[in-house]
């Protein structure tokens, strides 16, 4: 059995309660920004989150030595490279993606297997699934999984070039949704064998080759179904789905259709978390898992904000009221560019 022994997150939510659900305006683009962070603090903020999670999971120096380190990130060193481009006009000065895990491992004293996984918006959710499978195979005993996505203009400009950015706010599954608001966040999760209230019981990854940008509902249905099967449960056991819910027109339609088809007999509650911290891309796997775990720990699952009117094409209504945290199974969806899809199943039991 694979348990979540600790978790930590730094996102725009840490800016304070009043600002917590509002993106700020950067050069005319809405963005969920962590306050007071500079590009050159890249490694410091990752280290800070990793140290927080090590403390929460109470890992000893000896345990740390054999702990694996997985970093899920879409943008990797882009924030550093963009800093160089702005300051000196030098393009792609900071190379070698593996340096990110190497530097963090050295700073915190982790000396087990380490890897970077970079599969767009599924980077850190895929990392969680890979850890689960490597632990079950006996190759590793414990891992720190880190999701890293920090402010970079390449992502903003890239999404803008596809006209996928919202002018205002993220409104998942709403009839008037107009796109994504990006955000930054770094989070970490310790997966191990020490019993805790949260267990990672299932997960699946698949690749959908229908389109590079838009998922097909059949493949989304399939990855959810595979994740549920891997947990040895049925769709009726799922209490809530943390939807990927980017609020882009096509993605929400495909995800809603997949959910409606797979859960036609017993629809679970639907929760969207991106309206709270933005779409944090490669880090959204661990960021949104961490938000959900903390909500469960506090006993209340938040409502989905910004939803006002049902979209006929989606025909899916997220939870509009806070819910009581219940023991049971939670499905978390993550879908990325290149048809890279993953779903996780978490069991919550005090």
């Amino acid at each position: 059995m694979i348990y979540i022994e600790g978790y930590a997150l730094i996102s725009s939510l840490a800016n304070g309660v009043e600002e917590s659900v509002l993106p700020i305006d950067i050069d005319g683009v809405k963005y969920y920004k962590i306050s007071d962070i500079e590009p050159l603090e890249y490694y410091d903020i990752i280290e800070k989150v990793v140290r927080l999670v090590i403390e929460e999971a109470e890992l000893s120096q000896e345990e740390l030595h054999n702990t694996a380190l997985f970093i899920g990130t879409s943008s990797a060193k882009l924030p550093l490279n963009e800093h160089h481009a702005k300051e000196s006009g030098e393009l792609l000065k900071d190379l070698y993606m593996s340096e990110v895990s190497q530097i963090i491992a050295q700073r915190v004293g982790v000396n087990g297997y380490r890897t970077i996984i970079s599969t767009a918006c599924t980077s850190s959710s895929n990392a969680l699934i890979q850890v689960k499978e490597m632990m079950e195979s006996g190759l590793i005993q414990r891992a720190v999984v880190v999701g890293v996505e920090l402010y970079n203009e390449l992502s903003i400009n890239g999404f803008d070039s596809f006209m996928l950015l919202s002018k205002n706010s993220i409104k998942p599954f709403d009839a008037n949704r107009d796109g994504i608001v990006l955000g930054e966040g770094v989070s970490a999760v310790v997966l191990g064998k020490k019993k805790s209230a949260f267990e990672l019981v299932g997960g699946a990854i698949n690749v959908d080759t229908t389109s590079v940008t838009s998922p097909h509902f059949e493949n989304l249905k399939e990855v959810m179904s595979q994740a549920i099967q891997s947990a040895n449960i049925s769709t009726k056991d799922i209490y809530l789905i943390k939807a990927h819910a980017t609020a882009s027109i096509q993605n929400d339609i495909a995800e809603a259709e997949a959910i409606n088809l797979l859960f036609k007999d017993s629809k679970p509650h639907i929760l969207a978390l991106k309206p709270y911290i933005g779409h944090t891309m490669g880090a959204c796997g661990t960021n949104e898992l961490t938000l959900l775990l903390e909500s469960l720990k506090q006993g209340i699952i938040p409502k989905t904000i910004n939803f006002k009117s049902m979209d006929k094409e989606c025909n899916l209504q997220p939870n509009l009221k806070e819910l009581e945290a219940k023991e049971g199974y939670y499905l978390l969806n993550y879908f990325g560019f290149g048809g890279n899809n993953s779903s996780l199943v978490i069991k919550y039991g005090v």
């Binding site: 390449l154 400009n157 890239g158």
Partner: protein, 225 residues
Amino acid sequence: MYICAFSNITEIVKDKLSYKKALLDRKFNRSDNFINLTLAGVQQCVKDRELPKDSSIYIASENGNINTTIKVLDSIFIQKKLPMPFNFLNTVNSITLFYVAKNFNIEGKAIFTDSFESALPQAFVDVAQGKTVLLGVVTEAISDLELHKKRFGDKEIVESSRWLLLSPKTDDVKAMASIEEFKLQTYTKAEHSQEELFTFLESEEEMFEFRGESLSFRVLKFDGG
């Protein structure tokens, strides 16, 4: 774990990067040098085999799609304009996985990672679960060769796309070699690199003991392998 096939495209760059699209049986309109280099390696490894739909794909690359990333950064920070949408898309690592999956009808797991030693243990787990795995290490050179030398030093400029087709033990799989005594270890100075593994596979040698930075294993070739 068995090696059913491998490919080793290693090109020394003299004046300019070669035109990889010419090597491909199936060409994609929006693919760039990194994607084509990747596809050329996979094509040479897979040949006319039909892979199971649930096969996994692992691409290991330290710097990923380096030329298109430079192009997009140039567009944003030097020319101060929006990048071309599909240039932006090609900088996203999962897009290269998409092209491999599409070209070889794969619907299983697709993972982009940093290095050979980081990819192989993950592939090992998939193979232990009964899956076929395509694992490649792809290194693109910067097309501006002066910039390449500035970033990587004055050594020989090389582009490479090296692939392994890995499989579990089954009666119907024709393997050329086996990987045995696969072990992870705490980090130490590497004695071998992935490049040496591929050189061994091309050689007449029968056995290779790989001792890397974080893992070790033995490769044994079969008769005629």
